[in-house]
Each structure stands twice: as structure tokens, then as C-alpha cells.
């Protein structure tokens, strides 16, 4: 793309972001402020993730971009195109082939490797924001590891509903020190973060924060001993590939309550079908 640097951002900016990434990796779960740049995509649409990806991308990388687990949602398409144009890198839909994966709201089902980096798009980096809107206050709470407010919220949930009612963006404790928002991934995906072999980077462009989980780090979802964390998923199998272990999307098929459940991770589902797995609805092929 004429007139623009590799991956759009100038080298100074990339250097600044990489310094922040290094600091974030050194303090797992801690939010590092960074001078987020105005990007050609709107805030809230992945500018943080894009800036992190742009700063770590090299010409030899292979990039996968997903949104809601799928490569083909319009926002994933838009971002993938952005990098194809500004960086000319190889892109892929196959999780196994990617070296960098930028994601919105899901972690791929296939386990990631040590040579991969996953970049999460984060709308709201502050895990306490619903309980305490003031950033000055939450900054103090993180500094003093004063997370009473969050524990009280979980207690209240159990008192009121009999169980913790958070189903996505479920708060986690990273490396036994920092309370962190995993981004709005479903609670179902939380366990994947614990001791993940890949490096996990989180970018929040509008709120101007970067944070990270180094490979092989302990990540625990908050819970009580007698009310342990439970991953929520639809109690069905994928209609296309038959999987009972992947996160499922619910598709409304008619106006009489008809429902079909399919894997949210389109690459995972395609791999399973290619390997011969079939779901109850699997005879009807998806249109190309």
C-alpha cells in the first residue's frame, strides 16, 4: 500500500507499543497504559488488537483473524483485508497454520502452540468497571490488590441466584496477583487460558491499555471452594460435525422454535468434517 509503512503504523509507534507489550509480559495481568493511535477503524472495532498485531507482525508471519470464532464475519474480513493491504502478509483460516491469531470474543478450540501468539480485542480492560466506574479508584485497588468489591459481587450472586451469574468476560486471577478481564470471551473459554503454551496479548485501543499473559502462566477463574467455576455451554451437539466439546452457536431456523446448534469455531468444525465426523444435520453441506 503506497505511502504507508509496513502494517500501517510507523516504526516509532510500533516500538512504543512493543515496549508496552514487554512491560505487560513482565507483569502478567497488569494493565499498561499506551499511547493508542487514531486508526482508520473506529474505536470499539478492534483498534487495540490491530495496533498490537501491527507491532508484532513480521513479513514471515501467517495471520488468522476471527470474530465470534468465525473467519468470515464482516469485521474479521475487514481486519484481515486491512493487514493484507498494509502488510502483505500471508493470511489463513486454519488455526494450525497461523503464527499470529487476532480474535474477538473467542479462543480457538484447537490447542495453541508455543510458536503462536494470540491477540485479543478488548473493549473494556478494567475488570472492576461495572462495580467502580472511576479509574483512579480501580488503579488504587489493583496496586493494593484490594479486590474485595469483586468477591462481594460473587457472594451476592450466590445469595441471590444460588450460583455465580457471570457468563462471559468472567474475571480471572493471573499469576495469583492481578485481577484481569479476559475480554468478552464466553466463560466456557476461560480454562483454555490457564497454562496456555502460546503468548496471550490483549489490546484495548479506546481505553488505551495493553496487558498480557506469558506462556505457561496460571490463570484462575474466580470462584468459591463450595461453588467452583463451571463452564457454560449449550447442552447439544454440533449439527454439522457432531462435536460435543466445542462452543456452539444457536441458529434460529424457522419461526416455530426450530433451532440448530453449530460450532462457533468455523475452522475447527471444517477440520472435523474433513476428517469424516458428521452431525445430525451434516448431510446438508454449507454453501461455499
Amino acid at each position: 500500500m503506497k505511502g504507508y509503512n509496513f502494517a500501517y503504523l510507523d516504526e516509532q509507534t510500533k516500538r512504543m507499543i512493543r515496549r508496552c507489550v514487554l512491560k505487560a509480559v513482565a507483569i502478567p495481568g497488569h494493565q499498561v497504559p499506551f499511547g493508542s493511535r487514531e486508526m482508520p477503524l473506529p474505536y470499539g472495532w478492534g483498534t487495540g488488537g490491530i495496533q498490537v498485531t501491527a507491532s508484532i507482525l513480521g513479513s514471515g508471519d501467517t495471520l488468522k483473524v476471527i470474530d465470534q470464532g468465525a473467519d468470515d464475519t464482516t469485521n474479521a474480513v475487514s481486519i484481515r483485508r486491512f493487514f493484507a493491504r498494509t502488510a502483505g502478509v500471508r493470511t489463513t483460516t486454519a488455526t494450525a497454520e497461523a503464527t499470529v491469531i487476532q480474535t474477538r470474543h473467542r479462543i480457538p478450540e484447537r490447542q495453541l502452540r508455543e510458536d503462536q501468539i494470540i491477540v485479543y480485542q478488548v473493549p473494556q480492560p478494567e475488570p472492576l468497571f461495572r462495580l467502580e466506574p472511576s479509574r483512579q479508584e480501580t488503579l488504587r485497588m489493583h496496586a493494593l490488590a484490594d479486590y474485595g468489591l469483586m468477591h462481594v459481587k460473587l457472594y451476592e450472586d450466590i445469595a441471590r441466584f444460588g450460583q455465580i451469574s457471570i457468563s462471559y468476560d468472567y474475571p480471572v486471577m493471573v499469576n495469583q496477583r492481578y485481577l484481569m478481564s479476559p475480554s468478552p470471551i464466553p466463560a466456557f473459554d476461560n480454562p483454555k487460558m490457564d497454562m496456555m503454551p502460546a503468548l496471550q496479548l490483549f489490546g484495548a485501543g479506546r481505553e488505551k491499555r495493553i496487558y498480557a499473559i506469558p506462556p505457561w502462566t496460571r490463570v484462575r477463574s474466580l470462584d468459591f471452594e463450595d461453588h467452583p467455576f463451571r463452564a457454560i455451554n449449550a447442552p447439544h451437539a454440533c449439527g454439522l460435525c457432531g462435536s460435543t466439546h466445542s462452543y456452539l452457536d444457536e441458529v434460529v431456523t424457522d419461526d416455530r422454535g426450530g433451532r440448530l446448534f453449530v460450532c462457533s469455531d468455523t475452522d475447527y468444525c471444517a477440520e472435523r468434517r474433513a476428517a469424516g465426523h458428521v452431525g445430525s444435520d451434516g448431510m446438508k453441506e454449507a454453501a461455499e
Binding site: 499511547g35 473506529p42 470499539g44 465470534q68 470474543h105 473493549p123 444460588g162 449449550a234
Partner: protein, 363 residues
Amino acid sequence: MAYVAVKGGERAIDAAHAWLAEERRGDPGVPELSVTQIAAQLGRAVDRAMAEGSLYDRELAALAVKQTSGDLIEAVFLLRAYRTTLPRFGYSEPVDTTMMAICRRVSAIFKDLPGGQVLGPTHDYTHRLLDFSLLGPSDAATTSRAAPDDGVMPRVPDILGQEGLMESDGGAADEPGDLTREPLRFPAGRDVRLQALARGDEGFVLGLGYSTQRGYGGAHPFAGEVRMGEVSVEFVPPELGFAIDIGDIVLTECQMVNQFKGSKTMPPQFTRGYGLVFGFSERKAMAMALVDRAMRAAELGEDVTAPAQNVEFVLYHSDNIEATGFVEHLKLPHYVDFQSELQNVRRLRAEQERMGQEKEAAE
């Protein structure tokens, strides 16, 4: 009905872009707007795009206004994104508004003063009646306009300052922060607060300024002075070591005079609210001065009770690019999270029903 996985996202996006381009151009039988026309005849739209885009370039701003079909926030977005890519040479010298080539200058606190009350090209005394003659071509307007006054026009608050009645400016201590380069941190200094207001959404700043007048925090403001006109921008290139004039820009400056009761250590003085905006942007400059003063409540020992006095609240929500991005992002797919909530609610309801049935069975 067979499930057909939705693909073709790329084609859909391309089609959407094509339609947008058609919408922008409109009926090809109608003459296309030129950027020159927009710059010349939609000056206030251009001013706003420059102010909130934090980029002084009339032609670029007019281009942005054309490209976005007049959606000013989208135009600001274009300018901001472009600004990010521009190389930076450094900071200019502080602009000297006492040397402004005055086009308009009014003060509410003195009946008359050196330089006089200069109305300039203002809407103020127009009767807001639609002028249907403008539906057709208008005759070239002629004005009996005096040349911009280069004579002495001291800033009104400086006049008060001579008597010690107005607090001093404080003077610049360290290098000012740069909101376009560094993330916002609290406590935020006045320099950063003013930057945020200068590029903040005019509607938001106006609403907050208005709220201070209605009792939501308020410091009994008087419009000490509003002045609009051209000022020269000076820059010291490192190779030269002295300042050179690199161009003129139009600015609107407003200083509000507010009362302060004094403390045990300080005699009573007036306090200042300050507004400075690109272009002819009087409304914004005045609102900015009101909100600037409101945000100083804590440092002046006043109770912080109102939204306009809550620095974190004002600074976090004044940027309309951040705001529109996040508000509009709700359009993006959120079905994965919604699915989790659905399953959650279904489970809780099933639990409740099961417990209800157990109770009944027990009775």
C-alpha cells in the same frame, strides 16, 4: 430447512462501499460540490472538523466534509486518522493572542474599553428567520467592513490582572502533555484538560457548560472577553535557533471571569475559565471556558458535586470519536456472549422450576 452457513462477507462489504459512494455523489444530474465551495461557503462545518480533528488545514477539512456527506463526526474521524500518519517536527511557540488581527472582540464586563466592542461577522443580532432568497443565487454581498484592527487591544482579563484582581496564569512550568501521543492519566493537569476540551465534542461540552449555569456546579461566570481573528504561528527550527513565522490560523479565544472568595492565605480574586478553538467557534470556546473552570473546582477548594466538575467523567466522555466508536460497536456481532447469557438464564429458570416442583412434591 437446510442450514446454510453465511459466507460472502467480503462481497457484502464491497457492495456496501459501492452504494455508499453512490449515496455520497447523489443525483449525477446535480452539479458536484467542490472542495473549494465547501471551504468557502460551509466555513463553520469546516471549522468544527478542524477543531475536533485537531488539524488546521481548511482544504483537508473541506475534503473530509465532502467525503462524509457532511457527517461532521465522520469527517473528524478522517482527519484524526490522517493526522496520525503525518510526520511531526516539534511544537510551535505559544501563540500570542494579544497580537491577534481582530475580526471580532466583545466583552460583557465593561461598557467600553481600549479597542472597543467589535461585533464582527456575528449571528448574534440576526433574527432567526429563514431567508428564502437564498434558495436562488444571491447577489454578491457588500459590507462596510473595517479592516482588521491592528491597534492595541489588550485582553480584558489582563486589564483586571493589572489591579491584581485576576489570578495569574501560573506560567508554564514543564513541557505540556500531549493527549494525542500519551494515554490519559489522573490526576490530569490543566494542559491535558484543556486539550481534551479543545478537541472534545461541541455538543457534549456545550451541554456540560450549560449545566454549570443551571446549578450543577457553577462559578457565576462573566464573559470577560471573546475574541476571534488570525494569529501567526511561530516555530523555532533547530537549525536556525530563532523563531520563524510559518503561517496564520484563525482562532477563537474566550476568557470567563468567575468569582472566588479567597482563602485564609489568599485575598479574594477573580478566577479564570479559558477556551481556545480553531476557526470561528464562539459557542465552543465559551462552553469550553465554563467547563474548564468547573473542572478546577477541586484545586480551588470547592466541593465537587456536579458532572462538569468530575474531571474523570468529562475527560473520558468528551471525545466523540471514542464515543461513536464504542456506541456504534454494539452493532457488531455479540451472539457468542449472548448465547452464554441465554444458556445461563435457561439454566437458572430450569433450576427454579425444579426447586418449585420439589417443594410442591414435599407438601
